[in-house]
Symmetry: C2
Subunit: 451 residues, 2 copies
């Protein structure tokens, strides 16, 4: 992060119109830090500072800015300046930006890009969301089988400066079909005369354009890659996915899981940039479904109206039973959902998982029941039967909650639903109904009441 | 992933004792795939296959195996074989393994490593858990300021083969203090005669050995790095952190957050490898705390015993109110906790966040209340006052839940607690007490009852 002190120093130079001094400081800085400085300026100063940057640095900084600033800069600069920036941007950065911009600005950007860039951008915009094609970049080093190490180095020196990752190069045949992979490390460790065909590794790990980005993340994690080639249906190389894009995808996928597991539809934008109506729209559907489901639990209680009008004390244990059941269940479901997300738990493990959770449930249930029994005997001495009703229900609730909590996410996965919807809120609603039924059924039996 | 077909083919060769053919197939494969093949063999066959691999490949495969297999191989091979493997392992892989192995085996491993390796391993074992020092690797390319590009290439060719990442090289002074960074891309783009001191970037982004690994992940994400140098208190370079290790840390940190947010202590090992007692130990503390807290809610209900013995119907709406309150609160808290984890939300945003959540709460509360009112008027026609009590309580509960849900995680962060403990379970317990208090207070007023 850029320190506050440094920011204020730069700001003082800017307001004091000491542009020469400001420029000499900026060119020494990292593009990420310059962008974070620019983001705090008002729109007029943004353009002043941005125009101060040398051409190449300007494109790098531009790629790091938020979409609002990018839009503002695009509308304030000349077509010539715009053309220079767009052609310098990596295609995947340009596409990310275009996906967020209003149509009129997109048109102006496309009009000002070279035909090649325009074609690439259009192609990228057409890949399905969250596919390998939508996160790949078109800038890679492609070599030929009959090139020598020396020729390869010359090629990289000549064309490599524009490529997002030059360290892994891909060897293709004349039809651009992927044949092998060569790292710069391989190039450095071999003779200048060695041929690509001899030193390349023909066992290339690759992805298809239509593959899901979650699959791509798994492949990166499994093989510890720096980049992954993406091929089309005919095995032709169309782009690469670099590790920094994969890290963004990982973060985004984890965020989506957090949101789904808290009964929300995933949001497109960061929290602070999402409008109130959008947030409400994401949250209401599940709240509504869960509210209507919990009325079933209310309906169960209705059946036992008689029990709690005879012994109203019974009602006061409802929150404790419901909360403990919900918490026990969501502990189990969270472990299983996360375990499946990172590939540690498979649906085939279901019996192993259930047997484990039942035993864990017995241990947890026993501890809670014991503590509760002691507390109840102190608070309500002599009411042994009521105490027993509460602690036996508690014990059963914990075991049932753990079992339901581990079975439902696995069941969801088996029928190709997202396991994340079987998280805490859904489990809680289901466990509530079970635990209250056990509780009042037990109360009626032990306390000799009619339901 | 290695396909099942290929696995069975290899297995057939192994059981048919066609070792020569098996070996020639194995040496063509990726080390990750070989490891996943070995992991399915019994312990005797594991050693047979492992001994078949050429020395260098053997170490690579060894690093990819699970700790049980590593332990089994270590106990089955000779000291000479062991020495070769340990000295070929990257220090951070060796340390990861040693942290899991029983003490007797650790002693045998350390006895069989060279004095240099042993010193490094011991040093690494001493860094605090989850610090930058504990995830870094000692294998990096260190250059001197007065080297030329040609000398640098020679140095990399000579020593680089052992280094985990050769693409980013670090320039140090004679006291090993970090002075600058040079990428292989820079080397390729410059003249052979250029000096490191001239082409290096002196603005190095670095970490300190004692820094938290979460901070390291943030730095990687912010600057899109491939590797990050780690320095000690005197700015001397001691190691680097590579992007593949950072991806592991990211996954591990997200898992920890999922666990904490579901009221569990984070576990060290994957779910299926964690024992039943350990799982129970991780889950009981929070279950106990939350159970005892929810008794407070029970105590509140006790105050209104009179109300629900007069109108038992009131009790049947408790699950709906509690569940909806809990869900609304955990939606808000999840968004804020995740927002803070990825650096999008800062404690300074508290007023902005509260104002947003209150408005979202009003929208959600209004929708739920309307739907509920219609349903109740159909189910209990004429009971207007009871229906009003329920829907007004529902509306207030949602708004209060959203507000508490966003305030508590930020408050926790402000007083340097982990915001993740203020997740769903804790919020639910607190919101329950509030919503039931509002509900019965309102009931007493609207329905003219004494508490």
């Amino acid at each position: 992060m850029l320190e506050e002190e440094k920011k204020e120093e730069l700001l003082a130079l800017l307001t004091g119109k000491k542009y020469r001094e400001l420029k000499s400081q900026l060119v020494e800085m990292n593009e990420v830090d310059i962008a974070s400085f620019i983001e705090e300026l008002d729109s007029e100063k943004t353009v002043v500072v941005f125009r101060m940057l040398p051409k190449e640095l300007a494109s790098e900084v531009f790629a790091c800015l938020e979409v609002e600033q990018q839009q503002h800069i695009i509308t304030s600069i000349t077509d010539n300046e715009l053309r220079a920036i767009i052609d310098d941007l990596y295609v995947d950065d340009a596409v990310d930006m275009l996906e967020e911009l209003p149509a009129t600005i997109v048109r102006r950007v496309l009009q000002n890009s070279s035909p090649d860039t325009r074609k690439l951008i259009n192609q990228f915009l057409n890949y399905p969301e969250n596919s390998a094609g939508s996160v790949m970049t078109a800038e890679y080093v492609g070599l030929k089988k009959n090139m020598t190490v020396e020729q390869a180095f010359d090629y990289i020196r000549k064309y490599g400066v524009d490529k997002e990752t030059i360290y892994t190069c891909y060897v293709m045949d004349e039809k651009r079909r992927l044949e092998g992979v060569v790292t710069v490390k391989d190039l450095l460790m071999n003779d200048y005369a060695a041929l690509m065909g001899d030193i390349m590794d023909p066992h290339v790990i690759k992805a298809y354009t239509t593959e899901d980005q979650e699959k791509v993340v798994e492949t990166f994690n499994e093989y510890n890659l720096l980049s992954l080639p993406v091929v089309d249906g005919e095995d032709r190389l169309v782009g690469i996915i670099t590790v920094d894009d994969v890290m963004d995808v990982m973060e985004q996928e984890a965020t989506e899981d957090f949101e789904k597991m808290a009964a929300m539809l995933p949001s497109e934008k960061p929290y602070l940039k999402t409008g109130v109506f959008q947030l409400a729209r994401n949250r209401i559907p599940w709240l509504m479904i869960l509210m209507l489901s919990s009325m079933v639990t209310g309906g169960i209680l209705l059946k036992y109206e008689n029990a709690f009008s005879v012994i109203p004390l019974l009602v006061t244990f409802i929150p404790m039973l419901m909360d403990t059941g919900g918490n026990s269940g969501s502990q189990a479901s969270t472990m299983i959902i996360r375990g499946m997300a990172v590939g540690e738990v498979e649906p085939a493990d279901i019996l192993k998982v259930m047997w484990k959770e039942i035993r864990v449930g017995m241990l947890c249930g026993l501890s809670l029941a014991l503590v509760n029994f002691v507390r109840l005997m102190i608070q309500y001495p002599g009411q042994v039967l009521i105490c027993l009703t509460v602690v036996i229900s508690l014990f059963c609730t914990v075991i049932i909650a753990k079992t339901i909590g581990c079975v439902l996410p696995i069941a969801a996965k088996t029928i190709h639903l997202d396991p994340a919807i079987m998280a805490s809120p859904m489990i809680t609603t289901i466990v509530d109904a079970c635990s209250l039924m056990i509780y009042f059924q037990l109360a009626c039996h032990l306390l000799n009441m009619k339901a």
